[in-house]
Symmetry: C2
Subunit: 594 residues, 2 copies
Amino acid sequence: MSQYRAPLDDIRFDLFDVLKVESVLADLGQTDVNRELIDAVLEEGARFTTQVLAPLNAIGDQGCTFDKASGDVTTPPGFSAAYAQFVEGGWPGLNAPVDFGGQGMPQVLGAAMKEMIDAANLAWGNFPLLSHGATEALLHHGNEWQQDVFLKPLVEGRWTGTMCLTEPHAGTDLGLLRTRAVPNNDDSYAITGTKIFITAGEHDMAENILHLVLAKLPDAPAGSRGISLFMVPKFKVGKDGAMGERNAVRCGALEHKMGIHGSATCVMNFDGAEGWLVGEPHKGLMAMFTMMNTARLAVGLQGLGLADRAYQNALAYARERLQMRALSGPKFPEKPADPIIVHPDVRRMLLTQKALVEGGRLLAYHAFLNVDIAHHGADEAARHDADALVGFLTPIVKACLTEWGNECTYHALQCFGGHGYIAEHGMEQLARDARITTLYEGTTGIQALDLVGRKLLQLKGEGMRVFLTEVKAFCAAEANNSALAEFMPELTAKLDEWQALSMRIAKDAMANPDEIGGAAWDYLFHSGYVALAYWWARSVAAAEASSRSQAFKDAKRETARFYFARLLPRTLAHKAAIESGVGNLTALDVAAFD
Amino acid sequence: MSQYRAPLDDIRFDLFDVLKVESVLADLGQTDVNRELIDAVLEEGARFTTQVLAPLNAIGDQGCTFDKASGDVTTPPGFSAAYAQFVEGGWPGLNAPVDFGGQGMPQVLGAAMKEMIDAANLAWGNFPLLSHGATEALLHHGNEWQQDVFLKPLVEGRWTGTMCLTEPHAGTDLGLLRTRAVPNNDDSYAITGTKIFITAGEHDMAENILHLVLAKLPDAPAGSRGISLFMVPKFKVGKDGAMGERNAVRCGALEHKMGIHGSATCVMNFDGAEGWLVGEPHKGLMAMFTMMNTARLAVGLQGLGLADRAYQNALAYARERLQMRALSGPKFPEKPADPIIVHPDVRRMLLTQKALVEGGRLLAYHAFLNVDIAHHGADEAARHDADALVGFLTPIVKACLTEWGNECTYHALQCFGGHGYIAEHGMEQLARDARITTLYEGTTGIQALDLVGRKLLQLKGEGMRVFLTEVKAFCAAEANNSALAEFMPELTAKLDEWQALSMRIAKDAMANPDEIGGAAWDYLFHSGYVALAYWWARSVAAAEASSRSQAFKDAKRETARFYFARLLPRTLAHKAAIESGVGNLTALDVAAFD
């Protein structure tokens, strides 16, 4: 069984030493969210996730059970009790508005908690996850009754939420969906259709489940402009908020998946279920994106959490497992063999994980901190810039952190050799669980298209400019920092390269829109690696400027060196691929692929 | 459920048009193995693997069952009957010597058959797999009785073999093993110990199982120089070959694995079991390597087979799945959406698979063809060179094809979006099955060390020189081939770069042996990508020179262009990592990794 230790030391370094959240939050008017409070939340979060959730991770892999007759889903042993503790601790409303019973804590703190939840038990974490999206959708688009009656139980965690988008023939392309909403005699609608891949669509943890459902009104225009958003509770809810009879929505089956077996992935059948329109008719896709963007950043944290847990276990194993001697001579001559961490290739795998986890953590937390700034920034310009930055960073955080999550769990499993492949050590579960993260809430390819097609081109790279301004300010401020002298030339060269590639793609796309698709994936990773170079340089600077131990400073510097020497050069391959143009992708006839 | 179609057209292209096996085999004296015969074997092999094995792949995923009381293992429904057909068809002895009941067919033909078996049903393929290794070990190291009595039933497939190496604390480092062999009063030994991860250690397919077991004699020197090889049959076998009572070897448990559930991975307990020494005392490791080298090339084929099956299914899905429109405008306006194969990023994933599968197939077949030359070459020099070449190519074939197998199954699953993650389409099984291939028979890191430490440095790059001679002869012969003009400059530049890196590593390793471990993994992939560039150039040349259709020639050329433009540049990252030296891997203190 894999172990998990909450990485509080590195989280604190990121929050306080690198991102300076205390002063940023004070500038946002959140002076009460001081270091003491943040520390207390982190400590309690670490206790809950490591002591309550982490031990349930392996048993969760045995899966949920489905009763076909009743349509009921039973979660793995311990899951429901852990959720009750989660609710008891007030965690569901950590980031929710105080007006609706939440604690109004900053998103960046919620991100740290979310990372720990996902590392401890990704499948469990999916049950409360979508409640945040439902809360966001109602906050932004719900009417007074919807907010008054539904938000409080969602925020308290007594009810949970879902996002019902996908249908068998309509995943990425929601314009194709067939679920129908027909007006009833009152202001409700009858929702009919089948949704698949519905996370937490049915379970035994909460009193009620609020489904946020995309469907088409009878007069809907064709395509994605004809989609409306509805809310459909599992148990009907009266105007006074009283829960009534069971609604006509049932789970039809659980999917058999590669991993996250403890997460109930449901086929949901709506059979004239009572629902209410959320927001404007035919504007459902925009409302759904309100939920989706939060969820995308959250899925990035899933990749991060799994990568960190995998790394922790691979590291422990590499220190314990005795096998062969170092090529440069025995390092532990008193033992029958050296621990495998003496072997450079094992260190390569470990350092790859360490560099991606710690760098990725800053990449993610920085995005969440900007969600806070976008909400609470002192002036319109600050909020606008932060919002643009979040929009730009969201596909990078989602796609890179989940792809790196897969890479890290792959390396971690590999460190265990054959022992990584058997269930006993828990490494293969982490790898299987990680595999979903590049798929749901928009595949990596979709994130790449969002980054290039929308954020870089359609929005004219506004968010990128905000990011570059920040990075260049850092480079200017640290120009004479001798600790950074070895990193700065490469960082600035990569920034230039990145900008040049951005302009090249914009130019090529004008001549041929397919160039966007041809460059998107490689550009996404190029962006991610350049961003991580920035975060590693900032980590070195922040460590040096801190009162941390020399060992801590050394570790950050050596990991940064590894990153610049052995991971950042991956940009060379991505650059070459981008520069080769889309022609080598489109030339082959569809019939000639066999 | 995933489908499988035997890629006979590409196999024939490789064998007849690229590798010219007819003339090579004729030069080896195997004039009877002509195109007609090879075609007949391929056709029958395709029939067996696609019609008998492939349909059992999904059901095999449900796993073997173990009876604790009896120690018996029952294979998945249909597995045993399929094995009976395999034996009936004479397949187990396809490459075995005619003297012992085999068919004496060339290894390169066996490779094609093995690829199809693994693509059709990897877990099933593991049952006959180790019999080849046992056969090789007895052929090279067995005494007359061992060969007379044991080889024939192994070759016929009535008995199967195992390789019992690993113990809980001793995997890569076999010098640590504890299994003991104590001489009995006759010429037999009593073998006692526990072996783990024993593929096909117990099952219901064959009359008897011959375990090839590494153990230590009472007077054994410490470490790997004190290991001897023993054969231990499940049922005792008399001097006359008659099967007797059950031997004291039993399966103690089946491992719960990430994949290849249909393959029985056993804990084997030897409790004073009757065994016989194979070869010289204390020389067991060398004898075991005879088995291991064959097995390593075979595992490379497993990666290839899985990658091909994954690709076939991803391609079919990409042609069928309608989702969104091409950015450059609808390509199938009559349909509600375009098939996803119109999207450049989907094509990127498909072409990556196609390029790695078709290029990797040549890389593998070429190695197997040189096994044939090493055995049957006309003169000592030819045999010696081919043997050195096989030694050099073995870690590249094993490691690259299995890592690419993981990459291809990853991309293929990704092409399915969320549908790739559920069991229904069979893609997640291919990904789980592929994950074992980089672990067993020596991890990727071990292959990399074998390539650099032994093949490049200890053996002074002899095999590499043979390979380079062949490649340079090709480049010289095709210097004026206009079809290759676009590829030649990059191919020759990469060959130079590869040689320069080889010399650099050799030089650095003299100063610090740890440089071997620091460079090995990146050098291995650099080698693999350069080798594939050669095979893609040769594929273009061979296609152009053939009487194949223009569509076939176009497909090879466009895939080669994709490979040179978008995959070969990965060498840039590997080169940078190698040139950065081992220092960035060794600097961090063991305690500072947290």
